[in-house]
């Protein structure tokens, strides 16, 4: 027996096929790099982001400069490639600047909701039954509102403005985020390796930090990426209703609502801000789909 027990001297299974060790994130990155559709739309998203950042360099005119004589001019009028709006401001410049508030309103609420909702969800999923019930039943209440309605209710009551709009949107996304994180955490929590970690003598915080988060971050991130386009849409809707971004800040939703009054004069210009919202949102959506399928690695 002691003869056979001397195994460690030679490594067992050394001959087994050595796969390339890439790790989870390595695999995800590899898949993304080989997904032309996602790469393409990701590039557009990047362009939109760059456009927002370098708006002052790109915009041909000052987006705030009004002019009584230049009101509602057609495309190409005196260097105004896309014409002017009802206050005589250059439409192209306003469209370029409009990317700023759209991206901000798309990303900030999602980031807040991911942090707060994710934290609540991990607590709810890992803590005992009572804490879980308190958190999740509260979330259920917010879930009982259609998202647009809740966003309108909260920002409608608080009044317009970008900060109020972002707060309202974050509040709308927190419950959904919380659910995603809670489900993922509860799933991980029931797996043996958590019990194994407990058996090692690790405390709750250490286990959450090293064993739970790594497994929860994936689904949370996937969901967050899909929320960005929802957030952009909802934010532009709020601005359209007179909530969210306040005039004279250039914002696609706001532009849509003011240009709409001149629909018979400049119908094409009137549709442009909406097209910008649509393109941005669909690109984020497709990128998010790409990330989702890239991250769907069976382990």
């Amino acid at each position: 027996m002691s003869q056979t027990a001397a195994l460690p001297a030679t490594f067992a299974d050394e001959t087994s096929p050595a796969e390339r060790v890439r790790g989870y994130w390595g695999t995800v990155g590899y898949r993304l790099r080989h997904d032309p559709v996602t790469l393409f739309f990701g590039a557009i998203v990047l362009l939109i982001v760059l456009m927002a950042i370098f708006a002052p360099l790109l915009a041909p005119f000052d987006p705030y400069k009004e002019s009584v004589v230049l009101r509602l001019k057609p495309w190409g009028y005196r260097g105004h490639t896309l014409g002017t709006d009802e206050l005589g401001r250059d439409l192209l410049s306003r469209l370029i600047y409009g990317a700023r508030s759209s991206l901000l309103m798309g990303l900030v609420p999602v980031a807040i909701a991911t942090f707060l909702g994710g934290t609540l969800g991990v607590i709810g999923g890992y803590a005992g039954r009572r804490v879980n019930a308190v958190i999740m039943r509260t979330m259920d209440v917010f879930y009982a509102f259609p998202s647009v309605l809740l966003a309108v209710a909260i920002s409608g009551a608080m009044g317009g403005g970008m900060v109020n709009g972002m707060t309202a949107l974050a509040l709308v996304f927190i419950p959904a985020m919380c659910r995603v994180a809670e489900t993922a955490t509860a799933q991980v929590r029931s797996l043996d390796f958590i019990e194994a970690a407990r058996a090692t003598g690790a405390g709750t915080l250490t286990i959450v930090r090293y064993h739970v988060l790594g497994n929860v971050l994936g689904p949370v991130f996937i969901y967050a990426s899909s929320l960005v386009s929802v957030s952009i849409l909802l934010a532009s809707g709020l601005s359209f209703l007179g909530l969210g971004v306040k005039p004279p800040t250039p914002d696609w939703g706001l532009m849509l609502s003011t240009l709409r009054q001149s629909i018979y004069v400049v119908p094409l210009s009137c549709a442009l801000p909406g097209a910008a919202i649509f393109v941005t949102s669909i690109c984020f959506n497709l990128v998010s789909d790409g990330i989702r399928s890239a991250m769907d690695v069976r382990l």
Binding site: F142, V152, A153, G156, L233, A271
Partner: protein, 318 residues
């Protein structure tokens, strides 16, 4: 079954309670003291005193909630700041107009979505299938109110085939579906409202149908020599619960979407009223409308759940 219905209805009570608390707190979210929020700026001294007493504004918050709930349950939602009319009258009037829109839009959206999805599911990989996948992505990325504007540009501005906004010259009170001159005002809003969820419903139906088609029992049915039509009937029946769940959700989106769509078409429904209330900072109307709409949503979810459990007994047990 009856026990399940009872239990499910009991479960809806805490949700309804929570929803009412959220609606109640809207007044406190608004900047300024709640009295000034729900009263017109030119309210008389007696009015202020009377409302303060009636709503218990000098009492602790839970008591205020109970006072408010008491008023709401007896149909008193306060008074509109803009029109000085009771909120309940405003809301119910507007709701009937919204209901008119949704009662056309919902069957249209669900029917179209379901048909497309079922077709795509039965012919995976074909053109219908790709159409559905595309429509779903477009549907979730499209600002629905912009779609309304585009339709207006095409059909009202360019072709002048349909009216752009409103409910017709006679207004809401004499509106009749049977008169073309009135009914044509509904076409664009209904179509806009219906087009948004079509893609998602189709995608879900497609997924559900494709999943059921892959199950062993379908192979067994085919092996037994059942006709293809009978097989498809079976498949559709088995995929119904999932589809139903999504339809319930989409109904909520439709309701939320109606806020923006009605604003675009100045259709005097609850959504349009909400956006007017926002502009006028008419918090009582805002609160009343939100409460009504969200309660309708809670009730719809309940109905969807019950329907689902009727079709699929497995749900009852979990």
């Amino acid at each position: 079954m009856l026990a399940y219905i009872m239990r499910r209805m009991l479960l809806a009570i805490p949700i309804a309670f929570g929803v009412s608390v959220v609606c109640f707190s809207l007044v406190y979210l608004a900047p300024g003291d709640p009295l000034s929020v729900i009263l017109p700026a030119d309210a008389t001294q007696e009015m202020v005193a009377q409302i303060r007493h009636a709503y218990g504004f000098d009492r602790p918050l839970p008591v205020q909630y109970l006072f408010w709930l008491g008023h709401v349950l007896t149909g008193d939602f306060g008074m509109s700041i803009a029109t000085r009319r009771p909120v309940i009258l405003e809301v119910t009037g507007a709701l009937s107009n919204t209901f008119m829109l949704t009662s056309f839009a919902v069957p249209l959206a669900f029917g179209l979505g379901y048909a497309m999805g079922a077709l795509a599911g039965c012919f995976p990989g074909r053109a219908v299938d790709r159409l559905v996948t595309g429509a779903a992505v477009v549907g979730v990325s499209l600002p629905n109110y912009w779609l309304g504007i585009v339709l207006v540009i095409i059909f009202a501005v360019e072709f002048m085939a349909l009216p752009a906004t409103g409910m017709g010259p006679k207004g809401s009170a004499q509106f009749s579906l049977l008169r073309w001159s009135d009914a044509q005002y509904m076409i664009l809003p209904v179509v806009t409202l219906a087009l948004i969820p079509v893609g998602i419903i189709a995608r879900t139906t497609r997924a559900a149908v494709a999943e059921v088609l892959n199950l062993d029992f379908v192979t067994t049915l085919r092996a037994k020599g059942l006709s293809e039509i009978a097989v498809i009937r079976h498949v559709l029946k088995n995929s119904a619960p999932q589809v139903l769940a999504v339809m319930g959700l989409q109904f909520g989106y439709l309701m939320g979407g109606s806020i923006l769509i009605e604003t675009v078409f100045t259709w005097p429904g609850s959504g349009f009223m909400l956006s007017k209330a926002i502009i006028n900072r008419d918090i009582p109307v805002l609160q009343g409308t939100i409460l009504f709409l969200s309660m309708i949503f809670v009730a719809t979810n309940l109905v969807v759940d019950l329907l689902q459990s009727m079709i699929d007994p497995r749900i009852r047990r979990s």
